[in-house]
Amino acid sequence: MAQVTLRKVVKNYDQTPAVRGIDLEIADKEFVVLVGPSGCGKTTTLRMIAGLEEITGGDILIGADVVNDVPPKDRDIAMVFQNYALYPHMTVHENMSFGLRLKKVPKEEISKRVQAAAQILDISELLQRKPKQLSGGQRQRVAMGRAIVRDPKVFLFDEPLSNLDAKLRVQMRTEIKKVHQKVRTTTVYVTHDQVEAMTLADRVVVMNNGRIEQVGAPNDLYHTPMTKFVAGFIGSPAMNMIPCRLEKAAGGLRVTLSDGVSFPVPEDRTARYEQHLNNGQLLFGLRPEHLMDAHAHANPHQHPFDVTLEVTEPMGMETLVYFPINGIDICARVSPNAGAQAGSRLRLLADLDNMHLIDDTSGRVL
């Protein structure tokens, strides 16, 4: 078990930068998820920690040791690959024990550890099978088993669930979380799926364009995103962002979205926002779940406004409704009983306690 430290890590492919200097401290036993769109450098970062990619600059430490030039086999890490990378000519048992056999661990010890890992993952009956006789989910378990038996300092997961179907993905997600609660090994997990990131992580690292946008606990990222990118990336459906003007009005500040729609800013934010009164590049951010139908119980910071619906998407437990403000499509989550229908008028409540004001020029959330 060990912490992992990245100091100003840079990776260039020829002249193209893939990772532009990231700093990250991962504590012992922590489950950290690197998340971001494809091409953001998250997989490259993971592969640099694994030693499969050379680093162009900076330092990577596992425990207290700088491992920049240590080959993967001496880093004492285990990795689960997206396509599992099981050895097709070996049985499940041989796959799982391969690393231990190379290390010349005694046979009884190997057998004991494989059995124990198989127990955790519920694959004891599959030990004598070849990978091609296994389903996708079973292969995934074997790949995890191969990592667990090694008892490494760090687990690395490279989009391990993206080859599974939606139902199995949710199931394996829970499985991974359970395994981590049992073995408590420091884990770095890469995914492009923000739901996976939110559900699994102790801390989420949101990456974009080779840089870290924000590091934080899942709830912090959701409630207090620091950048426009994080605000838009975390949460599904994504946060609505509407160009707005900030104006002084009687009793405080108002944000005006269009001629017809304008909301008062909650008093506790007045001081924070006041300096941006003359900023012409502001975005008003509000998540769909903070736009609800007027039948819900309202509090003082929930302000009603009327819209004409364009599209409705019933999901069962809720209905997503879409309507334009100033030509921008806005999404709201309303109760399925609200009677929302395309073309109909609906009164919505905007929960301004959860509003965000974003400076579009700097990309900062104010």
């Binding site: 694994a50 499969l52 990795m79 396509n83 050895y87 000519h89 391969f98 690393g99 190379l102």
Partner: protein, 308 residues
Amino acid sequence: MVDSAIRVGTANGAARGGLHRLMRRKSTIAFFMALPLIALLAALVAYPAGYAVYLAMLSKSMERFVGFGNFTFLFGRDTFWQVVYQSCLFAITAVVFKAIIGFVVAHFVHNIPAKGQRKWRGMLLVPWVIPPAMSTLAWLWLFDPSYSAFNWVFDHIGIGRVPWLGEAAWARFSVILVNVWIGAPFFMIMYLAALKSVPDQLYEAAAIDGASWWQRIWYITLPMMRNIIAITALFSLIVTFANFDIVRVLTAGGPLDYTHIFGTWAFRVGIEGGDIPLGAAVSLFMVPILAVAAIFILRDITRRGSEV
């Protein structure tokens, strides 16, 4: 498709007897479609093979039937057993070296960046692409005792001249060397294709599992290539065993029959020696040996087919 189309065509003639039913069957149609090829094989393979068996049972003048006389005669001759030994030595040594060299070169080529790889692949294939009779002629000049480049160099660096084709051991070495030179590119290209089909992630997984470079080859590359290695080696074994042109051009079996293999000795006995039945008998000895290899190949291919 075919089946149903024909069934429609003869739907009202269902009771027209067994012949019609036979003609309607898929297997019958398949047989007729394959008939031209079967006829071709019969004319070019089955007939010569049968004729060779017939010839092998005639006397030297080809006027009298002698049964297995030619075979028993061969069993009693030392030269025959020498040819058996030399054929096996030639085929096995050559295939082993072709396989090893092909494997090593394939690894080098595999590690050349994709840009320059095609160029190298093309150049390395040249020995295999040139007609062997022609390239062997070039080797014949290289092996010339007095005027060749090899001996000139050896002379100048003080090693002295090597009797490449004049001494039994050297002649065998030279014949095998040329065969390896011609055949190794085939192994290289087959192994290269096999190497490319091994996913990189397996090597990465093995590297993380703690495997060294050598262990990755031993535990990943070789097992993953096992089928290709077996098929290529067996295929090459057959072709090498039945070789004719290299030995014929280089040594014509000499010195003193020390490089004869089945093909060249059959030619010497049958065509040059004027004893066609005995020559046919010699060449027939290749059949059981090659048949064993062929069975192994076919078995391996079927097994491989059922694995996928």
